[in-house]
Structures are given as C-alpha cells and as structure tokens.
Amino acid sequence: MSATLERFSTRTPSTSRRKPRRPLRDRLASIAFLLPAVVLVTLLLTAPFADTVYRSFFDDRFVHQSFSGFANYHRMFSDSAVLKSLLNTLFWLIGTVVLPIGLGLSIAVMTNAVKWGRIARLAIVLPYAISGAAVAVVWNFMLQSDGAINSALKSLGLSSLQHDWLLNWPLNTVVMIIANAWQATGVAVILFLVGLQAIPPDTIEASALDGAYGWTRFRHVVFPQLRPVTVVIVGISLVNGLKAFDLIWVLSQGGPARSTETLALTMYWETFVLQRPGSGAAVAVVLTIVVVAVSWFYLRRQLRASY
C-alpha cells in the first residue's frame, strides 16, 4: 500500500502540499450538499443494519424479547436446511459469475464484427428486459415434470434424458442458475460490447502487423483491454448471485424440502414464514458479512491491481 501511495505522490506532487483552509461558507455548503445523502444512508441502511445486528442477539418473541447471546447463530449453523442454503449460495455465486461472463464475452466477441450480430445480440439481450418473476413463470412452464422440455425430449425419442428438473437437489439449483444466466447474460453482452468498441483500432492493427490473429490476438491484445469492463461485470454478477431471490421464490418457494433455498430465501423464510425475527436477523447478518467480505476481497484486489 505504501508503495502505491509513493507512486501516486510521485506522479502528482502538488497533491502532497497542504491546501489552504477553505472559507467557512464553502465548508458549510459542502456539508449541506452531503447531508441529504448521509441522512438517507444512515436512516435507510446503517440504522436498520445496526438494528438487525442488535435483534439477532435476542430471542424470537415479537414482544418482550430476552437477550439470547449467540443462540440464534448456533441454531442457524446446526440447521441442515441453512447449511444447504449456504452451499446453494456458493453454487449461485459461482454460477452467476461463470455463466453470464463466459457466455456474455463469447457472444459479444462473436457478434461484434459480423453483419447479423445485431439481430443475434437483440435476441440475447431481450430477456434482460423481463422481470425475474416473469422469467420464473416461463421457466416453470418449461421445467415442470410434464413441462415443455420433457415433452420435447419425449417427442424427439429422447425419453431417457427426461428428468424431474425441479424436484431433485442439486439438479434443481443448477437449472435455476441456468435460467438466471439466460436472463443475466444480456447485460454482460451489452457491457462487453461497450468494452470491445472502446478498444483503440490501432492496437488491433499493430497486433495484425505483428502477426497476431485469432486466439493469440484475443488473449494478448483484446482481453487485457477488456479488464475494466470485466471488473464491473464480475462485481454485478457477484451481487446478483448473492441476492438471488425472485426467480427461486416463484419457481419453487425454496422447496422441495427447502432444498433450493439461498441465504436470501432462508432469511425470508425464517423471518416472514416461520415468524422468527431473531433467527431471520441472524441469517441477515451472516448474509451481509458474506456479501461485504466477497465484495471487499474482490474490489480490493481489483482496485489495487488497477494502480
């Protein structure tokens, strides 16, 4: 970190000098402009989070709660449904990063320079405009045991490939991640296209002169220049994976037997279905820790690397 700061200060020596103190009027104006944002974040984010942390140390009563220490956390980690939910969250995390990014990058690269690319991209981007709940309804129609996919397989004489897609774990979680990728790939394609179009043509021409074509050009010239946009897409995908809710809720309500729950659903289930606000708060705190830890770890690495 100190090396980074040193480099930064070498590049911009003027910033290391102490600035003259600004007039009071200016400082008050800055505070006035900052205040609405600070108040909103405090009221809508920090205070509820602090309250949730506090609530997680009390029992599940709605009135006259008693302090219960780490009992909610202990119960949470000894519940097999919650442990499966943690595992599913990990699946979602991997699936929502790997699939939309892999597919999004491939589609963007393959359709960027061809004439029919616009039509292909439109078809892939369109699902992004549909709400998660509507996507779930469509996929439910396809994935049910007597749904479109199994009917199509049967009519093609591929009955051996028929499955109860939504009934058995981990297949049900995997197909939900694929359904999510079908929708989420659209935004990755758009962002990668923006990245591709921002690549200076002279770098491509220079690589052609050096005899770099195909995979070599992509690997050593194009992909490194897509780094900033990849950072953004991975960040978005990580957050989407961790907050996955609507698609799962509409497709399976977390069932059967709570096998498709992610931590977001477990939090909802404990708090609103089982009416256990203390246990729900504990799940919310754990989910927040996971989200913050993953985001911090990822962004810290990426931001450090970008200096």
């Binding site: 009563r61 709605f62 009135v63 439910n140 049910q144 045991s145 007597d146 109860d164 939504l166 009934l167 058995n168 309500q253 069932g255 059967p256 037997a257 709570r258 096998s259 609103f272 279905v273 089982l274 009416q275 256990r276």
Partner: protein, 421 residues
Amino acid sequence: MKRREFLAALGAGGAGLLAAGCGKGLQSPPGEVSFYSDNPTWKSGFEDASRQLRKASGTGLDILSVPTVTSYEQVIKAQLQTAKAPDLLKWWNGYRLQDLARIGQLADLTDIWQTAAGKGWIDPAIRADCSYDNKVYGLPLHESYYVVFYNKNIFAKHDLAPPTTWAEFMAAAAKVKKAGITPFVSTQSYPWSFIWFEEMVSKLDVSFYQKLTAGKASYTDPKAEHAMSLWQEMIGKGYFTSPDTDLTTVPAMMHSGAVAMYPCGTWNNATIQQAGLKSGKDFDAFIMPTIEPNATKSVIVEAAQFAMPARAPHKKEAHDLLSHWLDPAVQKVWSAFLMDSAPNPTVISPDPVIRNVQALVKQTNPTRVNRYWEASPPALVESNVQDLGDFMIHPEKAKSVLSRMQSRAEAEWSYWKQEVS
C-alpha cells in the same frame, strides 16, 4: 417554474405525503368499515354481502385485498401493532387465529357467537377452532369440506359409482389407471403436500389425527407409519399426478379427462366450474371413505375467519356489522356467490355439488376435524409440509421424514407452550 421553486414544491409535497402516511387511523368512506382480505376473487361476493349487511346494520364493508398470502400476513401483522389497524380482517382459524389472539391483538367476539348459536346460525362443533382461552375471536366466513371432486364422465364411461368404502376407492383408482388416466391429483407445491397426509391419517383413525395435531401423539407412532406406507404404496402404483403439478392447472386437467379425482376443499368448486365443467353434471364430489370399514367417519373442515383487531378504529360499527354476518339473509347472498358451504347450517347452497356435500355431511354425520394447516402451531406446520413434500418425491424416506417431523413437533410444541404460558 424556477429550479428553487420546483425543489421547494417537491419538498413540500414529500412532507405532505409523509405527514399523511404517519396520520392516525384508516380512512374509510362514511358508513363503511375497512376490511382486509387475501382473496381478491372474493371481492364481488363481499360487495354483495356488504349491501345486505348495510341494510341490517347501517354499515357496509370497504374492501381491500392483498393478493399474496405471505404479503398479506406481513401487512396485517405489522398493521395490528399500529393505529392503522383495519376494522375487520380475514384470517385463518385454529392455531393461526390463536397466534394473534394470544398476544391480545384481536377483539373478543364471544357475545356475537353466543347470540348466533342461540338462533341456530352456527355449528357449535367448530367453536374450538375459532377460540383461544375459551373466548371466541373469529366468525367463520365459510365452512369448506375437504372432499374428492370427480369427473362424472370418466366415472360413467368406466362404470364407476362414487366409492363408499376404501376398497371401492382403490378399485376405482386401479380401473382408471388401467385406462391411462391418472387417478388422483397430488402436489408438493407449497403448501399443498398436507392434503393427502391429513386425509390418510384421519381416514385411518380420526382420533389419532386429532391427538397428533394437538401434540398429544407421535409422528413415529405405528399408525402414522401405516398411513404413510399406504400412501407410499399408492405413489408406487403411479396413482398420483407429478409432485410438481401446478394446482392452478388442475381444473383444466379435470376438464380434459387427464385426471379423474381431485381431493380438495369445496372452495375449489367455483374454479372447477370456471374451467368449463358443469356442477353436478360433469363433476361431483364425495367424502373420502375410511381406510377400515368400521373406523369413525370423518371430514376435514376449513373455515376462514372474520376477525376484529383489538385496535380497530371503528369498533362499534364493526361489531354491529359482525353481529349480522351469520344472518341467513346475508349468508344466502354470500353462499350463492361463493359456490361453497355457508357457515350458517340453515342456509342450503344453490350449487348442486355443494348441496350434495351438505346432504352427505348431514346424512353420515362425520366427525369434523380441522385442516392440518390450522390444526397445529404455524411454525410446525410450515416446516412439516416441506418434509411431506420431500416424502412425495422420495417415498422411500417415509420413516426418516416422520422422525424429522416428530423432532420438530417436540421443539415447536415446547416453544408454543412456553409462549402461551
């Protein structure tokens, strides 16, 4: 308009909205009390009943619907703790009603019940399901029976009569299965996995079902295991629709003849008719027979409730209105809309299927037991229906599922007793 003027106007508007949001009490039109329901499809029926109630009590209903059950529960539970409580609300009976009554959030309606019972306007057998601590906190909106709807055309084609014994019931299933028709509707889609469980256990031994749901018998009892093994056998024979069947598609499946029998509450009568089947002509209903011929006959009952919050802003008007709810003049209008059994036993439904069910209940006098969904503490039922769903997909897990349900029952009953003590 200048930017500053625009921002000032926006701020004033926001402050006004905030003040209105923090205002006290729900604003219902004069002469009406606010009523929250989770069933938007009942709105026109409530409007018909409201006109009759206005004639009798001078007060009508201002109906508000929250269409999703889970959202509805949250909205109501949040509002009950504030000055914005509705005047009346639709709620479940049994332990779900007790869940609100035990923390003092509902008003005592015992006087209305007693007056209605004195006039013969209510079935005294269901009082316990509407009470907590011997006080009544809800008046039934309907009295739905869990019956087996069947496609009359399929039964006629295969020379079948509505079964009166378990052997006939199974023979009918075997016959239609042989003809390529799925005998029974069944789904684990939340929360409907309990339908077959409650039917199998109560038709095996209704007193065991009552003890089991009251926390006085074990899920690992040989009777529960026997009920599950019979159910397992039926799954093995391919008698049921796929466990992920969407119940909204079932009336269409009945209409197309893809499925022959559909065990469900009589509230589904209207939905089946909407799919194009004519009541009494294309479909009818029977009460599932007991598994042993000499077992006590029983029927599962579901009765959603009219309840009044303890903090209702217009308590007197709401109380007056409720005192007329069970009046036959109101119930006739309501029952005609509902195409289901009215809570007032003197009101005979105009619908042929419901009239037939009402006659069957009168004739066979089965023991009425509460639906599984309301018959035990909510947290226990919510989790047990998940396990039952697991069993429906993996019937070989019967014993481990029952064992999980029993462990949960022990924990949840202990929690419930601790809460109400």
